[in-house]
């Protein structure tokens, strides 16, 4: 049930046919894990808090530095040196005190990932490196938790939604290890990508719309152009394979 204050607070989104009071109650019951509170994690956490998600768990091992501030809008000058999860919790609580914020200062590893996302309905990828994304991807598939992938570099970004057992996963695109490099980025790029990820999370929780499953969306900020590419489950994927349906041919393309 929504309180009077909640009805007022979320009035404009309750007016949306796809949300309504029932949808708002669904959002209130939802538990979301956001892995990372940086460039992507900031807009994701801010908009999911504003939308009235019941519980948001933010996970990050880092501390705020000056060079974070061009894009990580949860963190301000006064937070430099502070744990990012503490900075995030303060801002998110000030934005919406009705949202329960769990702030976990941990490095995500294969050993602790399952415990870190325990009890959550979705996992949102807001990481800054590929190896941890794969750790999250594998855990999401093993635990059957939807995983919302996003990544950026420069003016470019990409998004895909992964519904375990149904759609292609991040690892289906894996071509081998890549070297880790400091990536260039301007804050508006993760703002766009993070907001698309948050939109996907809200749609999934409400059960409305068409998700970015098997659809890799690529954003080119220099042109303001979006391209969409089909990604099918890879039957040889070491995370989500072997194939779950006989309709997948050995080439990885839909058969018949």
């Amino acid at each position: 049930m929504l309180t009077l204050s909640e009805r007022e607070r979320y009035d404009r989104q309750i007016m949306i046919r796809e949300i309504g009071q029932e949808g708002q109650e669904r959002l209130k019951r939802a538990r979301v894990a956001i892995a990372g509170t940086g460039g992507l994690g900031s807009p994701i956490a801010i908009y999911l808090s504003a939308a009235g998600i019941g519980m948001i768990r933010v996970i990050d091992h880092d501390q705020v530095t000056l060079s974070n501030l061009n894009r990580q809008i949860l963190h301000w000058e006064e937070d430099i040196g502070r744990k990012k999860v503490d900075s995030a919790r303060t801002k998110l609580r000030n934005l919406n005190s009705g949202v329960e914020i769990e702030a976990i200062e941990e490095t995500i590893t294969e050993n602790n990932v399952s415990q870190l996302v325990d009890g959550c309905d979705v996992i949102v990828d807001a990481m800054d490196n590929l190896p941890t994304r794969y750790v999250l991807n594998r855990c999401a598939i093993e635990r059957n938790i939807p995983f919302f992938y996003g990544a950026v570099s420069g003016f470019e970004g990409r998004v895909m939604t992964i519904i375990p057992r149904e759609s292609a996963c991040l690892r289906c695109m894996y071509r081998g290890p890549v070297s880790e490099e400091k990536f260039p980025v301007i804050g508006v790029t993760p703002a766009v990508i993070g907001c698309i990820q948050a939109t996907e999370v809200i749609k999934y929780l409400l059960g409305v719309g068409k998700l970015l499953t098997n659809r890799l969306l690529i954003y080119d900020g220099l042109k303001i152009a979006f391209s969409e590419f089909t990604v099918n489950k890879n039957p040889n994927c070491d995370h989500c394979g072997p194939p779950l349906t006989p309709s997948l041919s050995p080439s990885g393309e839909r058969g018949g």
Binding site: G36, G38, G39, L40, G41, D125, A126, M127, D128, N129, L130, R133, G150, A151, V152, S153, G154, E156, G157, R158, C172, M173, R175, G176, P177, V178, E180, E181, F183, P184, V185, P190, L216, I218, D220, L222, S227, E228, F229, T230, V231, N232, N234, N236, S251, G252
Partner: protein, 90 residues
């Protein structure tokens, strides 16, 4: 017989700034060979060694992932190849 290759923004320094290059070939690999013939700088941008793309290079054929074994995928007149880079930032 013509196939269009869409070059990633970070690789256009090797194609005189061209976003789209017309190439000939019967497979994705042949098309990329023809791209490199026209713009030799693309070889190092795309390939780690002969017939082995860099791990961050993704190939999409007619807006669908060509992975795995992308180089041997057949192409036909009018097809489009997009060369995309795997991103890791966040």
């Amino acid at each position: 017989m013509s196939v269009k290759v869409h070059v990633h923004a970070t690789h256009r320094q090797f194609t005189n700034g061209l976003e789209v290059v017309d190439v000939q070939g019967n497979t994705v690999g042949e098309c990329l060979d023809h791209l490199i013939e026209q713009f030799p700088g693309m070889e190092k941008a795309l390939f780690a060694k002969k017939d082995k793309l860099h791990n961050i290079v993704e190939v999409y054929l007619n807006h669908a992932s060509a992975h795995p074994n992308e180089l041997v995928k057949p192409v036909k007149d009018g097809d489009e190849i997009h060369l995309v880079i795997m991103l890791a930032g966040g």
